[in-house]
């Protein structure tokens, strides 16, 4: 009866022979720490089915969720950043760009496209947090500016989904001026009386909040997204006190009067369509 006796002791499998669970089979919610199968998580639009925490997703996912049949025409896909300042911190900026490109499969922190939302044509820019924290450098500024130009040219609504830590330090004042540039373009869009909907997602801070993200005719956010100008850590250091619960979250911003409404990801597409149809864009652009 050898199975009653432990004949071999300890773990004998060699490291190279071990059979790990395939990566990404399970997703552990960052909020409630509950596991969900990746499949279920994806079917639930990357929202935790247990606590409704909206996971961070990028342009690929948003395009898929929002555009009809996931079809769209991407704009300026190959725009890449220069290194105007020969910036070097712990590694040179071009190297940082390269490794980010490899890791994320993206060319920079925003993708822009023209597509249809329930049959309604829109110009849309979606930021990718995976690329250097979604930071805004020349490419982000330029692509968003061009997408706004396209909205003006085709007389179609503009939608920007923000998800960014702010300006990109490695482009210093170049990145600062992107705030002025995108805001100037939005002023033109405003004069052309074309609707602009800004969608703020977790996180939207710094120079993004202080430029296009707060300039929507309608500002919408996903639930519980961190939205603010200064980061919570800096504010905490400045005032020397703990921050109140829920400070700088979507619900807080709506309460303070800076968001029109908060919308869950599963309702986002229909809500956008609803708002845009009431604006009557489809009639004017038909």
């Amino acid at each position: 009866m050898s199975w009653f006796k432990r004949v071999k002791h300890g773990i004998l499998t060699k490291t190279q022979d071990k059979k790990p669970t395939p990566d990404g089979l399970w997703y552990k919610c960052k909020e409630c720490k509950e596991p969900t199968s990746t499949k279920e998580f994806e079917l639930n639009l990357w929202v935790c089915p247990k606590c409704n925490n909206h996971g961070r997703i990028g342009s690929r996912e948003y395009f898929n969720i929002l555009f009809d049949e996931g079809k769209f025409k991407e704009l300026d896909a190959n725009l890449t950043s220069g290194d105007p300042l020969k910036f070097e911190d712990t590694k040179p900026y071009p190297q940082r760009l390269e490794s980010s490109k490899k890791k994320s499969g993206l060319n920079d922190a925003v993708r822009t496209a023209i597509g249809k939302i329930n049959g309604l044509k829109v110009s849309m820019a979606v930021m990718d947090f995976a690329f250097i924290g979604g930071s805004m450098g020349s490419v982000v500024g330029e692509k968003i500016s061009r997408a706004i130009d396209a909205a003006i040219e085709h007389k179609i609504p503009m939608i920007i989904i923000s998800k960014s830590g702010g300006a990109r330090m490695m482009e210093a004042a170049f990145s600062l001026m992107q705030m002025a540039k995108t805001s100037a373009k939005l002023a033109l869009l405003d004069e052309a009386k074309i609707p602009y909907i800004s969608i703020l997602t977790d996180p939207t801070t710094g120079g993004i909040t202080a430029s296009f993200a707060m300039l929507g005719d309608i500002n919408i956010a996903e639930p519980k997204a961190l939205i603010g100008f200064a980061g919570p850590r800096i504010i905490k250091e400045t005032i020397g006190k703990d921050l109140p619960e829920g400070f700088q979250r979507s619900e807080f911003l709506q309460e303070k009067g800076f968001l029109d409404f908060i919308v869950e990801r599963k309702d986002l597409k229909d809500k956008l369509h609803e708002v845009l149809s009431i604006f009557g864009v489809h009639k004017r652009t038909a």
């Binding site: 890449t80 105007p84 300042l85 210093a172 805001s183 002023a187 909040t209």
Partner: protein
């Protein structure tokens, strides 16, 4: 040098070049310390009237000026940051009082309150009526607190916006003097929408139908500076700085310590010459030797002339041309390539 005698007491009126006698020296100016001490001694001896030291004084003055010229020839980014923060550097109100007549300060954003870190009002620069706006710092501890260290809250930006719209209505050029370590990162500032306030200003300034001239007179930190910085002409005083973040904070984020601030100042390319080279500003206004604080009168004169010149040029353009050119200028900023 003029010397007056009154009952054996001599008053020395110092010419501007030696005004730094009482001044605070920056760390890179240390080589001057000894010379200045000698000069002070010589002047004291001279003042007693027993020995004529005027030759020595003249010699030392010349020597100090030469040494200063040497020190100021190749300033690093960090050194310029230090000059821009010199405690005796002229602030917005100093310029307003020296350059304009009939300044009428206007208060409040008509909403929450009056921000003391952002001031503005109507004024006359010779025969030009202007709206002049700027961040204001304080000279001593009490004043600094009152001015919140030149860090505006949202109502400051909204006051600035209100004044700009008023300038547009009454067809007056807008002058913005930028001098801030950043928009205030406070709890109430967030509650009242610091980001939104700055963002709105960027949008309003982009299409404002009157000339806007922005001058960075000291520190130009990030969105807090840009919030009054979208202009037809964006100029920088020679020893001011303008960037997306202060060198200290940049150092903290990239190297996790303040110790790399010199390096950060260098890599950020935040000085006026580098900003001009990168075509992110339109011009540099030279400062007197030793920085604006070393000869404020001279600085006021230079800035006034520069402002008048630009007002005249810009007022000749129609508002449509002005706005188009302004938007076009900012649209061109950036460094990228299309690798398709």
């Amino acid at each position: 040098m003029t010397i007056f005698c009154f009952n054996s007491i001599r008053f020395i009126l110092l010419p501007p070049q030696v005004r730094w006698l009482m001044a605070v020296l920056l760390d890179f100016e240390k080589p001057l310390e000894e010379l200045i001490e000698q000069l002070e001694k010589a002047q004291a001896t001279h003042a007693k009237g027993r020995v004529d030291m005027s030759d020595t004084v003249a010699q030392l003055t010349k020597k100090i000026n030469n040494e200063r010229k040497n020190l100021y020839k190749d300033l690093t980014g960090w050194q310029k940051v230090q000059i821009s923060r010199h405690p005796e550097r002229p602030y917005t109100l100093d310029y307003i009082n020296a350059i304009t007549k009939n300044f009428v300060e206007l208060h409040g954003d008509r909403n929450v309150g009056d921000d003391k870190a952002m001031i503005g009002g109507l004024a006359k620069i010779d025969n030009h009526n202007v709206m002049i706006i700027g961040q204001q710092k304080g000279r001593n501890t009490k004043e600094r607190q009152y001015r919140n260290f030149g860090m505006p809250n949202p109502e400051g930006y909204r006051k600035a916006k209100r004044l700009m719209k008023m300038a547009e209505k009454f067809d007056m050029p807008v002058i913005c003097l930028i001098d801030t370590p950043g928009a205030f990162p406070g709890l109430e500032a967030e509650e009242r929408g610091q980001g939104e306030a700055i963002a709105k200003n960027l949008m309003v300034m982009a299409t404002l139908k009157v000339p806007i001239i922005c001058v960075v007179i000291g520190e130009g930190a990030s969105g807090g500076a840009l919030g009054i910085g979208v202009g037809d002409r964006v100029l920088m005083l020679e020893n001011s700085w303008y960037s997306v973040i202060s060198p200290e904070n940049c150092s903290t984020i990239l190297w996790r310590s303040w110790d790399y601030k010199e390096k950060a100042a260098d890599v950020l390319s935040l000085t006026s010459d580098k900003m001009l080279k990168n075509k992110l500003i339109d011009g540099i206004i030279p400062e007197p030797l030793g920085g604006a604080h070393n000869d404020p009168e001279m600085m006021f004169k230079t800035l006034k002339a520069e402002l008048k010149k630009n007002i005249k040029e810009l007022c000749e353009l129609g508002s449509k041309k002005l706005v188009n050119a302004r938007i076009k200028k900012f649209s061109k900023m950036g460094s990228f390539s299309d690798s398709a």
